[in-house]
Symmetry: C2
Amino acid sequence: VRDAYHDDLDAISTALIEMAHLVGSAISRATTALLDADLALAESVITADETVDLLYRDTEERAFTILATQAPVADELRVVVTSLRMVAELERMGDNALNIAKIVRRRAPASAIPPELRATFVEMGNEAEEIIARTASVIMTRSLQEAADLEKEDDVMDALHRRLFTVLLDDRWTHGVEAAIDVTLAGRCYERFADHAISVGRRVVYLVTGERPTKV
Amino acid sequence: VRDAYHDDLDAISTALIEMAHLVGSAISRATTALLDADLALAESVITADETVDLLYRDTEERAFTILATQAPVADELRVVVTSLRMVAELERMGDNALNIAKIVRRRAPASAIPPELRATFVEMGNEAEEIIARTASVIMTRSLQEAADLEKEDDVMDALHRRLFTVLLDDRWTHGVEAAIDVTLAGRCYERFADHAISVGRRVVYLVTGERPTKV
């Protein structure tokens, strides 16, 4: 039979996966809300972020209780400490989805995204969904290969992010400063979203290999 | 005589204060570089961030070692776990100074800040310096009053941040899209800088009172 201690460790893993799923749903809905200027969908993302925050606090509390009452060592200590960091990264990823939804809300019923950038934001949204799905997978499988793949996904996101600026800085940009600001802020959310996923991947590498990430 | 365990705990506190000082220096120099379009100063901020990252990793490693070898309980466990979070917030604050320096580097020798926003960025820079100085003080003193004061400083920063957008969205804005993007990104760095400081303050409140922050 499993004891309460191992049940607690399992509960942390389950919560991390659950958070990744919630964040995946949030970024997917936030992107659709952004593309469709859908205020109701944006509001749903804003409300749902409270659940992510709640899971974050519960998981942190649980990790803390394990440290306080079980004094785990070696691998299990590493799992608990790493989980504390992962849960913080996932919470921040949720915040980036939240911030996209807030841009939608601020501009509704107008769209924050001009037509010529629509395709790029579709791609950024898809990339973000793949990234969070892979992040969940990396957390579950602890696959070093998948962690490395996450870094490649981040390169794709960075390229899309740079493409935004190429369009924004083109002389043919006719949408003015307000649209440029919204595009800049929304683009930054997707870029940060991917960065936090990379951090999760690097934590998994640390967990598996004991190698400290050289970048943070 | 003090034992190695308490020396390790002290070393973590010392490292947190040292990081806060480095981050204070970074945001101060980044602001000056931004206002003066000073490439050399910006480069110094970019280089110095490596030291912040190094301290971050060392401190995390030290906290981990304490957890692994000493199995601290009660207050001391709370100090170690809280330190793990604080060190991550301070590292992110350093990244925000770094990102301001990168904006300077990208635009040099031109200035990223139009004349009519100079005064606002001076204020944001001063506010950021006060915030990190207070953050260091909160870490040292664990004063609940100072942690509450940090929240007020954040309100000031938010107001300055909003003022930026008022200027950017004014019909009299003549600096075009590129300047608007730089101002948006730089402003966001200061706003995030303050947010991370607030998180440190809330961690201190948790440390002292045991009350979990309701916001994360």
